[in-house]
Amino acid sequence: MIRRGAFARMEEKRRAMAIEFSRKDTMKWLKSQVQTFKTNLEDFARIYKKEIRKNPQFRIYFQKMCGNIGVDPLASNKGFWAELLGVGDFYYELAIQIIDLCLSKRDRNGGLVELGELKRNLEKIRGSGGQEISEDDIVRSIKTLKPLGGGFEVIQIGERKMVRSVPHEFSTDQAALLELAQTQSFVTKEMVIIEKGWSKERVDDAIENLLSQGLCWVDYQSETAEYWIPSFFDGLND
């Protein structure tokens, strides 16, 4: 019994050591692989520098490759990647334009704008000579704004991706109303009562909240008052 116990302990120790060795090897191997990959990625970036800057689809792929090995070309504006690619400047410039646009429309839409609409407007101000941009670029730029604390964030409302430029979160009820308004760009109180089964007071409260934050406009000239969400109304930005 004693011998068997000692043997078992020895065997256990041996196994653990083997695992430890193989783990060390694997780590070593992995490290060298990542290093190779990084070098390759750098070469790749050097060669395709122009393409990365110019072609938004290409940029998405490149960002994904970088993300896979934990390299963030945007992490530092002075970093190797930013210097090599100039992408830091690219996203910085884009971010400034996003802030400008969102702020100039905030009084009208309460600080909520659809991502696609924002992209169309960005393209307008960048002109035809500017670099092409994708929605992915916009989302990345907005992420770089987060540390500034202005509340810039991409949020999902139903099927739409929206950019919010005000620092407050939406309440569950507000979010529910926004989601309900998606198909027609508006809600009526009756609609909400039927769809959500809320009490009249709860509906009044939620709509009052949207109105006071400038997120919806009321139309009294229809049969029953309609509460319109300007950011859902197509093309409402010129």
Binding site: R108, L211, G214, W217, V218, D219, Q221, E226, W228, P230
Partner: protein
């Protein structure tokens, strides 16, 4: 003449209802002001009769069947007056207003430039010639409202750059400009 191109917000139904939220209303009114000014500039309108105007496309969007209310328009005009962009006419009634897509001071500058360019300084020009004459064709003040023209000339008179000479009716009234050139 091509038609006036309304901005997209003109098709947004709530745009025709005065918004209860103060900040939203301020934005809404500013958007209306900019539409009114560009519309009047486009069609060279200098004076709006409010009830008449409310039945025109400017304040009545037939395609969505929405129209602005008189009280709302009056509030908008009041804001324009504060910004020097309109004036009640007559002053004590809130039924019609001059719309200054150019302020009287700006009209004064345009007119005095035109006078210099055409070598009309030190000669007498009638109001009719300024507003309807061949020489003013193609200028923005061609077909200008007489009352607005008088306000513009008044600016020049007060600056000592012109002198008005009375006649039996306003159109025959003459102006002498003392500019150089």
């Amino acid at each position: 003449m091509s038609a006036f191109d309304f901005p997209s917000i003109y098709n947004f139904p709530p745009f025709f209802t005065q918004q209860p939220n103060e900040a939203t209303w301020q934005t809404q009114a500013q958007l209306w002001i900019s539409i009114i000014l560009s519309y009047c500039r486009f069609y060279k309108i200098h004076r709006l009769d409010l009830s008449d105007a409310l039945t025109t496309e400017l304040f009545y969007n037939k395609s969505i069947n929405r129209r602005l209310k008189l009280e709302t328009l009056q509030s908008i005009i009041k804001m324009m007056i504060k910004q020097g962009l309109a004036e009640w006419d007559p002053p004590n009634k809130k039924t019609s207003a001059f719309i200054y897509w150019k302020k009287p001071e700006e009209w004064a500058t345009s007119i005095s430039n035109w006078v210099s360019e055409n070598g009309l300084n030190n000669s007498i020009v009638t109001l009719y010639e300024i507003a309807h004459g061949e020489a003013s064709e193609g200028t923005e003040f061609h077909e200008i409202d007489q009352a607005v023209l008088l306000k513009a000339l008044d600016v020049l008179v007060k600056k000592g750059e012109a002198q008005t000479l009375q006649a039996t009716n306003a159109e025959e009234m003459g102006v002498k400009f003392f500019g150089t050139g």
